[in-house]
Protein backbone atom coordinates (compact mmCIF):
# COMPACT_ATOMS: atom_id res chain seq x y z
CA UNK A 1 0.00 0.00 0.00
CA UNK A 2 1.12 3.52 -0.74
CA UNK A 3 -0.12 6.64 1.02
CA UNK A 4 -1.39 9.48 -1.14
CA UNK A 5 -2.71 12.91 -0.31
CA UNK A 6 -4.82 14.44 -3.02
CA UNK A 7 -7.25 17.32 -3.28
CA UNK A 8 -10.46 16.38 -5.09
CA UNK A 9 -13.14 18.97 -5.82
CA UNK A 10 -11.68 21.21 -3.13
CA UNK A 11 -11.50 18.59 -0.36
CA UNK A 12 -8.25 17.03 0.80
CA UNK A 13 -8.04 13.26 1.17
CA UNK A 14 -5.30 11.01 2.53
CA UNK A 15 -5.60 7.31 1.76
CA UNK A 16 -3.53 4.14 1.68
CA UNK A 17 -4.07 2.55 -1.71
CA UNK A 18 -2.64 -0.14 -3.93
CA UNK A 19 -0.21 1.42 -6.43
CA UNK A 20 -2.03 -0.31 -9.28
CA UNK A 21 -5.30 1.50 -8.52
CA UNK A 22 -6.40 3.74 -11.41
CA UNK A 23 -7.38 7.32 -10.65
CA UNK A 24 -10.90 6.67 -11.92
CA UNK A 25 -11.25 3.73 -9.54
CA UNK A 26 -10.03 5.85 -6.66
CA UNK A 27 -12.55 8.57 -7.48
CA UNK A 28 -15.47 6.17 -7.86
CA UNK A 29 -14.73 3.41 -5.37
CA UNK A 30 -12.76 5.12 -2.62
CA UNK A 31 -14.37 8.57 -2.71
CA UNK A 32 -17.79 7.63 -4.12
CA UNK A 33 -17.55 10.25 -6.85
CA UNK A 34 -19.41 8.17 -9.42
CA UNK A 35 -20.16 11.19 -11.60
CA UNK A 36 -16.92 10.33 -13.39
CA UNK A 37 -17.75 7.26 -15.47
CA UNK A 38 -15.74 4.48 -17.09
CA UNK A 39 -16.63 4.18 -20.75
CA UNK A 40 -14.10 2.15 -22.69
CA UNK A 41 -11.36 1.41 -20.15
CA UNK A 42 -8.83 1.65 -23.00
CA UNK A 43 -8.10 5.41 -22.92
CA UNK A 44 -10.00 5.97 -26.16
CA UNK A 45 -13.41 7.36 -25.25
CA UNK A 46 -12.71 10.19 -22.82
CA UNK A 47 -15.83 9.59 -20.69
CA UNK A 48 -13.61 9.49 -17.59
CA UNK A 49 -12.00 12.90 -18.27
CA UNK A 50 -11.17 14.94 -15.16
CA UNK A 51 -8.79 17.83 -14.59
CA UNK A 52 -5.44 17.19 -12.92
CA UNK A 53 -3.79 20.42 -11.76
CA UNK A 54 -6.22 22.28 -14.00
CA UNK A 55 -5.78 20.39 -17.29
CA UNK A 56 -7.81 17.52 -18.71
CA UNK A 57 -6.64 13.92 -18.39
CA UNK A 58 -8.26 10.53 -18.89
CA UNK A 59 -8.58 9.20 -15.37
CA UNK A 60 -8.57 5.57 -16.55
CA UNK A 61 -5.08 6.24 -17.88
CA UNK A 62 -3.56 7.72 -14.72
CA UNK A 63 -2.62 5.79 -11.59
CA UNK A 64 -4.06 7.22 -8.39
CA UNK A 65 -0.52 7.36 -6.98
CA UNK A 66 0.40 9.72 -9.83
CA UNK A 67 -2.12 12.21 -8.41
CA UNK A 68 -0.32 12.31 -5.07
CA UNK A 69 0.11 15.90 -3.91
CA UNK A 70 -1.98 17.20 -6.77
CA UNK A 71 -5.35 18.75 -7.41
CA UNK A 72 -8.19 16.88 -9.13
CA UNK A 73 -11.46 18.39 -10.33
CA UNK A 74 -14.29 16.08 -11.39
CA UNK A 75 -17.69 16.77 -12.90
CA UNK A 76 -18.99 16.76 -9.31
CA UNK A 77 -16.85 19.74 -8.40
CA UNK A 78 -18.19 22.11 -11.05
CA UNK A 79 -21.56 23.16 -9.65
CA UNK A 80 -21.43 25.27 -6.50
CA UNK A 81 -24.37 25.84 -4.16
CA UNK A 82 -26.77 24.30 -6.64
CA UNK A 83 -25.67 26.67 -9.37
CA UNK A 84 -24.61 24.93 -12.58
CA UNK A 85 -21.24 25.71 -14.16
CA UNK A 86 -21.65 27.69 -17.42
CA UNK A 87 -20.53 24.64 -19.41
CA UNK A 88 -23.13 22.45 -17.68
CA UNK A 89 -25.83 25.05 -18.30
CA UNK A 90 -24.83 25.30 -21.97
CA UNK A 91 -25.09 21.51 -22.37
CA UNK A 92 -28.57 21.67 -20.79
CA UNK A 93 -29.76 24.57 -22.89
CA UNK A 94 -28.41 23.17 -26.16
CA UNK A 95 -29.67 19.64 -25.55
CA UNK A 96 -26.08 18.45 -25.89
CA UNK A 97 -26.76 14.95 -24.66
CA UNK A 98 -28.78 11.94 -25.67
CA UNK A 99 -28.00 8.94 -23.44
CA UNK A 100 -25.72 11.14 -21.33
CA UNK A 101 -22.94 8.66 -20.72
CA UNK A 102 -20.21 10.68 -22.46
CA UNK A 103 -21.47 13.93 -20.93
CA UNK A 104 -19.21 14.20 -17.86
CA UNK A 105 -16.13 13.80 -20.03
CA UNK A 106 -17.47 16.11 -22.74
CA UNK A 107 -18.15 18.85 -20.18
CA UNK A 108 -14.73 18.51 -18.56
CA UNK A 109 -13.00 18.58 -21.96
CA UNK A 110 -15.22 21.45 -23.12
CA UNK A 111 -13.88 23.53 -20.23
CA UNK A 112 -10.33 22.54 -21.14
CA UNK A 113 -10.84 23.77 -24.71
CA UNK A 114 -11.78 27.20 -23.37
CA UNK A 115 -8.50 27.39 -21.41
CA UNK A 116 -6.54 27.27 -24.69
CA UNK A 117 -9.18 28.96 -26.84
CA UNK A 118 -11.36 31.46 -24.95
CA UNK A 119 -13.19 32.22 -28.19
CA UNK A 120 -12.97 28.90 -30.02
CA UNK A 121 -13.83 28.37 -33.66
CA UNK A 122 -15.97 25.38 -34.54
CA UNK A 123 -12.85 23.66 -35.87
CA UNK A 124 -10.97 24.24 -32.61
CA UNK A 125 -13.89 22.79 -30.67
CA UNK A 126 -14.09 19.72 -32.89
CA UNK A 127 -10.32 19.16 -32.67
CA UNK A 128 -10.42 19.72 -28.93
CA UNK A 129 -13.05 16.99 -28.58
CA UNK A 130 -10.98 14.52 -30.61
CA UNK A 131 -10.43 12.31 -27.59
CA UNK A 132 -14.08 12.17 -26.54
CA UNK A 133 -16.49 9.75 -28.19
CA UNK A 134 -20.28 10.07 -28.21
CA UNK A 135 -21.70 6.74 -29.33
CA UNK A 136 -25.13 8.33 -29.83
CA UNK A 137 -23.17 10.45 -32.38
CA UNK A 138 -24.75 13.60 -30.99
CA UNK A 139 -21.68 15.71 -31.64
CA UNK A 140 -23.44 18.61 -33.30
CA UNK A 141 -25.19 19.91 -30.21
CA UNK A 142 -22.12 19.23 -28.07
CA UNK A 143 -20.09 21.52 -30.33
CA UNK A 144 -22.88 24.11 -30.15
CA UNK A 145 -22.91 23.89 -26.36
CA UNK A 146 -19.16 24.48 -26.04
CA UNK A 147 -19.45 27.48 -28.37
CA UNK A 148 -22.37 28.83 -26.32
CA UNK A 149 -20.53 28.34 -23.03
CA UNK A 150 -17.58 30.31 -24.40
CA UNK A 151 -19.82 33.39 -24.45
CA UNK A 152 -20.49 33.12 -20.69
CA UNK A 153 -18.12 34.96 -18.36
CA UNK A 154 -15.21 32.88 -17.04
CA UNK A 155 -16.51 29.61 -18.45
CA UNK A 156 -12.95 28.23 -18.42
CA UNK A 157 -12.91 28.39 -14.61
CA UNK A 158 -13.19 25.10 -12.79
CA UNK A 159 -16.11 25.92 -10.53
CA UNK A 160 -19.31 27.84 -11.04
CA UNK A 161 -18.55 30.14 -8.11
CA UNK A 162 -15.21 31.11 -9.66
CA UNK A 163 -17.05 31.58 -12.94
CA UNK A 164 -19.31 34.11 -11.25
CA UNK A 165 -22.42 32.06 -12.02
Amino acid sequence: MTRITVTVDGDRYTDDIEPRMLLVQYLRESLGKVGTVIGCDTSNCGACTVHLDGRSVKSCNVLAVQADGRDVTTIEGLAQDGELHPMQRAFHENHALQCGFCTPGMIMQGIDILIDHPEPTEEQIRHGLEGNLCRCTGYHNIVKAVAAAAKAPNAAALSSSAAGA
Partner: protein, 283 residues
Protein backbone atom coordinates in the same frame (compact mmCIF):
# COMPACT_ATOMS: atom_id res chain seq x y z
CA UNK B 1 -9.18 -3.83 -16.53
CA UNK B 2 -6.78 -3.26 -13.69
CA UNK B 3 -3.02 -3.82 -13.82
CA UNK B 4 -1.48 -6.77 -12.00
CA UNK B 5 0.03 -5.85 -8.65
CA UNK B 6 3.48 -4.26 -8.66
CA UNK B 7 5.92 -2.66 -6.28
CA UNK B 8 6.05 1.09 -6.68
CA UNK B 9 8.82 3.64 -6.30
CA UNK B 10 8.48 7.38 -6.88
CA UNK B 11 12.04 8.74 -6.56
CA UNK B 12 12.72 12.47 -6.57
CA UNK B 13 16.14 12.43 -8.24
CA UNK B 14 17.69 10.67 -11.24
CA UNK B 15 20.24 9.04 -8.91
CA UNK B 16 17.46 7.56 -6.77
CA UNK B 17 15.60 6.39 -9.87
CA UNK B 18 18.71 4.58 -11.13
CA UNK B 19 19.11 2.97 -7.71
CA UNK B 20 15.47 1.83 -7.79
CA UNK B 21 16.02 0.31 -11.24
CA UNK B 22 19.19 -1.45 -10.14
CA UNK B 23 17.24 -2.98 -7.29
CA UNK B 24 15.00 -5.13 -9.53
CA UNK B 25 15.44 -7.55 -12.43
CA UNK B 26 11.98 -6.77 -13.74
CA UNK B 27 11.31 -3.05 -13.42
CA UNK B 28 9.51 -0.76 -15.84
CA UNK B 29 9.89 2.99 -15.95
CA UNK B 30 6.69 5.05 -15.80
CA UNK B 31 6.91 8.43 -17.53
CA UNK B 32 3.54 9.94 -18.47
CA UNK B 33 2.02 6.47 -18.67
CA UNK B 34 -0.08 7.07 -21.76
CA UNK B 35 1.37 4.01 -23.52
CA UNK B 36 2.45 2.01 -20.47
CA UNK B 37 -0.85 2.09 -18.57
CA UNK B 38 -2.92 0.58 -21.40
CA UNK B 39 -0.28 -2.16 -21.65
CA UNK B 40 -0.45 -2.84 -17.92
CA UNK B 41 -4.25 -2.73 -17.90
CA UNK B 42 -4.50 -5.24 -20.73
CA UNK B 43 -1.87 -7.28 -18.88
CA UNK B 44 0.36 -7.43 -21.93
CA UNK B 45 3.08 -6.83 -19.38
CA UNK B 46 3.14 -7.35 -15.62
CA UNK B 47 6.43 -6.02 -14.26
CA UNK B 48 7.47 -6.68 -10.70
CA UNK B 49 8.23 -3.03 -10.10
CA UNK B 50 7.25 0.36 -11.49
CA UNK B 51 9.65 3.29 -11.13
CA UNK B 52 7.60 6.48 -11.55
CA UNK B 53 9.63 9.47 -12.78
CA UNK B 54 6.78 11.93 -12.16
CA UNK B 55 8.35 13.53 -9.10
CA UNK B 56 11.76 14.21 -10.65
CA UNK B 57 11.69 17.94 -11.38
CA UNK B 58 15.14 17.93 -13.05
CA UNK B 59 13.74 15.86 -15.94
CA UNK B 60 11.19 18.48 -16.97
CA UNK B 61 11.60 21.67 -18.92
CA UNK B 62 13.09 23.13 -22.09
CA UNK B 63 16.23 25.25 -22.23
CA UNK B 64 18.61 26.75 -24.73
CA UNK B 65 22.20 25.48 -24.79
CA UNK B 66 24.34 27.20 -27.41
CA UNK B 67 23.41 25.87 -30.84
CA UNK B 68 20.87 23.41 -29.45
CA UNK B 69 17.71 23.25 -27.38
CA UNK B 70 17.53 20.66 -24.63
CA UNK B 71 14.19 19.09 -23.71
CA UNK B 72 13.91 17.15 -20.46
CA UNK B 73 12.69 13.61 -21.05
CA UNK B 74 9.69 14.08 -18.75
CA UNK B 75 8.46 17.20 -20.53
CA UNK B 76 4.83 16.72 -21.55
CA UNK B 77 3.72 17.10 -25.15
CA UNK B 78 1.43 19.97 -24.16
CA UNK B 79 4.37 21.91 -22.72
CA UNK B 80 6.45 21.34 -25.85
CA UNK B 81 3.59 22.63 -28.02
CA UNK B 82 3.43 25.96 -26.19
CA UNK B 83 7.19 26.49 -25.85
CA UNK B 84 8.62 29.43 -27.84
CA UNK B 85 12.11 27.82 -28.16
CA UNK B 86 10.62 24.76 -29.82
CA UNK B 87 8.49 26.88 -32.13
CA UNK B 88 11.53 28.91 -33.18
CA UNK B 89 14.23 26.25 -33.43
CA UNK B 90 12.49 22.88 -33.89
CA UNK B 91 9.26 23.60 -35.75
CA UNK B 92 9.25 20.04 -37.11
CA UNK B 93 8.95 18.57 -33.63
CA UNK B 94 6.01 20.84 -32.86
CA UNK B 95 4.28 19.94 -36.13
CA UNK B 96 4.56 16.22 -35.36
CA UNK B 97 3.47 16.49 -31.73
CA UNK B 98 0.36 18.44 -32.70
CA UNK B 99 -0.90 15.21 -34.28
CA UNK B 100 -0.28 12.92 -31.29
CA UNK B 101 -3.47 11.31 -29.94
CA UNK B 102 -5.76 13.87 -28.28
CA UNK B 103 -5.54 16.81 -25.86
CA UNK B 104 -5.95 14.72 -22.70
CA UNK B 105 -3.13 12.40 -23.74
CA UNK B 106 -0.93 15.33 -24.78
CA UNK B 107 -1.34 16.75 -21.27
CA UNK B 108 0.13 13.58 -19.75
CA UNK B 109 2.30 11.96 -22.40
CA UNK B 110 6.00 12.82 -22.43
CA UNK B 111 8.54 13.03 -25.24
CA UNK B 112 10.99 10.79 -23.40
CA UNK B 113 8.39 8.15 -22.61
CA UNK B 114 7.37 7.98 -26.26
CA UNK B 115 10.96 7.77 -27.51
CA UNK B 116 11.93 4.93 -25.17
CA UNK B 117 8.64 3.10 -25.84
CA UNK B 118 9.73 3.27 -29.51
CA UNK B 119 6.49 2.30 -31.16
CA UNK B 120 7.31 2.52 -34.90
CA UNK B 121 3.87 4.07 -35.49
CA UNK B 122 4.49 6.76 -32.86
CA UNK B 123 4.95 10.32 -34.05
CA UNK B 124 8.03 11.63 -32.20
CA UNK B 125 10.70 9.26 -33.50
CA UNK B 126 10.73 10.53 -37.10
CA UNK B 127 11.14 14.25 -36.27
CA UNK B 128 13.76 13.53 -33.60
CA UNK B 129 15.68 11.44 -36.13
CA UNK B 130 15.25 13.98 -38.92
CA UNK B 131 16.48 16.81 -36.67
CA UNK B 132 19.71 14.88 -35.90
CA UNK B 133 18.94 15.00 -32.18
CA UNK B 134 21.15 13.50 -29.52
CA UNK B 135 19.71 11.48 -26.67
CA UNK B 136 21.22 11.84 -23.21
CA UNK B 137 21.14 8.59 -21.23
CA UNK B 138 21.99 8.23 -17.54
CA UNK B 139 23.11 4.89 -16.10
CA UNK B 140 25.10 3.34 -13.27
CA UNK B 141 28.33 4.26 -15.09
CA UNK B 142 27.38 7.92 -15.58
CA UNK B 143 25.98 9.78 -18.53
CA UNK B 144 26.38 9.04 -22.24
CA UNK B 145 25.04 10.60 -25.41
CA UNK B 146 23.68 8.63 -28.35
CA UNK B 147 22.88 10.03 -31.79
CA UNK B 148 19.27 9.54 -32.85
CA UNK B 149 20.53 7.45 -35.78
CA UNK B 150 21.89 4.92 -33.26
CA UNK B 151 19.11 5.23 -30.69
CA UNK B 152 16.32 3.22 -32.33
CA UNK B 153 17.38 -0.42 -32.53
CA UNK B 154 14.21 -2.35 -33.36
CA UNK B 155 10.48 -2.58 -32.60
CA UNK B 156 10.02 -1.16 -29.09
CA UNK B 157 13.79 -1.39 -28.56
CA UNK B 158 16.23 1.46 -28.06
CA UNK B 159 19.79 2.03 -26.89
CA UNK B 160 18.49 2.65 -23.36
CA UNK B 161 19.49 -0.34 -21.22
CA UNK B 162 17.40 -1.97 -18.48
CA UNK B 163 19.38 -0.11 -15.81
CA UNK B 164 19.40 3.24 -17.64
CA UNK B 165 17.15 6.27 -18.12
CA UNK B 166 16.70 8.67 -20.99
CA UNK B 167 17.11 12.06 -19.35
CA UNK B 168 17.12 14.65 -22.15
CA UNK B 169 16.77 15.21 -25.87
CA UNK B 170 19.25 17.63 -27.39
CA UNK B 171 18.08 19.09 -30.70
CA UNK B 172 20.40 21.19 -32.90
CA UNK B 173 18.68 24.46 -33.72
CA UNK B 174 16.96 24.43 -37.09
CA UNK B 175 16.10 28.11 -36.92
CA UNK B 176 14.19 29.38 -39.92
CA UNK B 177 13.73 25.93 -41.46
CA UNK B 178 10.29 25.25 -42.94
CA UNK B 179 8.65 22.18 -41.47
CA UNK B 180 5.64 19.92 -41.92
CA UNK B 181 4.38 16.60 -40.60
CA UNK B 182 2.00 14.74 -42.90
CA UNK B 183 0.19 11.91 -41.13
CA UNK B 184 -2.14 9.47 -42.83
CA UNK B 185 -4.88 7.91 -40.70
CA UNK B 186 -8.35 6.62 -41.54
CA UNK B 187 -10.03 7.98 -38.42
CA UNK B 188 -9.17 10.54 -35.76
CA UNK B 189 -7.11 9.35 -32.82
CA UNK B 190 -5.40 6.54 -34.75
CA UNK B 191 -1.75 5.52 -34.88
CA UNK B 192 -0.01 6.65 -38.05
CA UNK B 193 -0.49 4.25 -40.95
CA UNK B 194 2.39 6.19 -42.47
CA UNK B 195 3.60 9.68 -41.61
CA UNK B 196 6.39 11.89 -42.95
CA UNK B 197 8.36 14.58 -41.12
CA UNK B 198 10.06 17.04 -43.47
CA UNK B 199 12.10 20.12 -42.71
CA UNK B 200 13.79 22.29 -45.30
CA UNK B 201 16.28 25.15 -45.33
CA UNK B 202 15.67 27.44 -48.28
CA UNK B 203 18.12 29.62 -50.13
CA UNK B 204 15.84 31.97 -52.04
CA UNK B 205 13.65 29.70 -54.16
CA UNK B 206 16.20 26.88 -54.04
CA UNK B 207 16.41 24.14 -51.43
CA UNK B 208 19.71 24.29 -49.56
CA UNK B 209 19.15 21.32 -47.25
CA UNK B 210 16.33 18.92 -46.48
CA UNK B 211 15.76 16.33 -43.78
CA UNK B 212 12.99 13.77 -44.05
CA UNK B 213 11.97 11.25 -41.37
CA UNK B 214 9.50 8.42 -41.95
CA UNK B 215 7.04 7.01 -39.40
CA UNK B 216 5.91 3.36 -39.61
CA UNK B 217 7.93 2.49 -42.71
CA UNK B 218 9.98 -0.13 -40.86
CA UNK B 219 10.63 -1.43 -37.37
CA UNK B 220 12.20 1.91 -36.42
CA UNK B 221 11.84 5.51 -37.61
CA UNK B 222 13.84 5.95 -40.83
CA UNK B 223 15.42 8.73 -42.86
CA UNK B 224 14.45 9.11 -46.53
CA UNK B 225 18.09 9.51 -47.50
CA UNK B 226 17.59 9.31 -51.28
CA UNK B 227 14.98 12.07 -51.11
CA UNK B 228 17.21 14.23 -48.90
CA UNK B 229 20.14 13.86 -51.31
CA UNK B 230 17.98 14.69 -54.33
CA UNK B 231 16.51 17.78 -52.66
CA UNK B 232 19.75 19.23 -51.27
CA UNK B 233 21.06 21.98 -53.51
CA UNK B 234 18.17 21.59 -55.95
CA UNK B 235 16.30 24.44 -57.62
CA UNK B 236 13.09 23.56 -55.77
CA UNK B 237 10.93 23.25 -58.87
CA UNK B 238 7.65 21.38 -58.54
CA UNK B 239 8.98 18.74 -60.92
CA UNK B 240 12.25 18.35 -59.02
CA UNK B 241 10.45 18.03 -55.69
CA UNK B 242 8.02 15.47 -57.13
CA UNK B 243 10.91 13.37 -58.45
CA UNK B 244 12.89 13.55 -55.20
CA UNK B 245 9.88 12.66 -53.07
CA UNK B 246 9.10 9.67 -55.28
CA UNK B 247 12.31 8.16 -53.87
CA UNK B 248 11.10 8.34 -50.25
CA UNK B 249 10.41 4.62 -49.82
CA UNK B 250 13.84 3.54 -51.08
CA UNK B 251 15.53 1.27 -48.58
CA UNK B 252 12.49 0.96 -46.31
CA UNK B 253 10.76 -2.25 -45.20
CA UNK B 254 7.25 -1.21 -44.22
CA UNK B 255 4.91 -3.63 -42.43
CA UNK B 256 1.77 -5.16 -43.92
CA UNK B 257 -1.33 -5.18 -41.74
CA UNK B 258 -5.07 -4.53 -41.89
CA UNK B 259 -4.47 -0.83 -42.51
CA UNK B 260 -2.45 -1.47 -45.65
CA UNK B 261 0.16 -3.74 -47.17
CA UNK B 262 3.79 -2.82 -47.70
CA UNK B 263 3.27 -1.65 -51.30
CA UNK B 264 0.45 0.63 -50.23
CA UNK B 265 2.66 2.11 -47.54
CA UNK B 266 5.50 2.69 -50.04
CA UNK B 267 3.02 4.54 -52.23
CA UNK B 268 1.79 6.58 -49.26
CA UNK B 269 5.36 7.47 -48.30
CA UNK B 270 5.95 9.08 -51.71
CA UNK B 271 2.68 11.00 -51.67
CA UNK B 272 3.04 12.18 -48.08
CA UNK B 273 6.68 13.16 -48.56
CA UNK B 274 5.72 15.35 -51.50
CA UNK B 275 2.94 16.99 -49.50
CA UNK B 276 5.23 17.50 -46.50
CA UNK B 277 8.10 18.96 -48.53
CA UNK B 278 5.77 21.28 -50.49
CA UNK B 279 4.25 22.45 -47.24
CA UNK B 280 7.69 22.89 -45.64
CA UNK B 281 8.88 25.06 -48.55
CA UNK B 282 5.69 27.10 -48.23
CA UNK B 283 3.72 25.96 -51.27
Amino acid sequence: MIPAAFDYAAPETVADALAALADSDDAKVLAGGQSLLPILRMRLNAPEKIVDLGKIAELRGIREDGDAIVIGAMTAYADILTDPLVAEHAALLKAAIETVADPQIRHRGTIGGALVHADPAGDVGAPVLALDAELVIAGPGGERTVAAADFFEDLFTTAVGEDELLTAIRIPKHTGWGAAYEKFVRVAHQWSIVAVAATVRMDGDAIAEARVGLTNMGSTPLRATATEAALAGSAGTAQGIAHACGLAAEGTSPPSDLNGDADYRRHLAGVLTRRAVLSAVGR
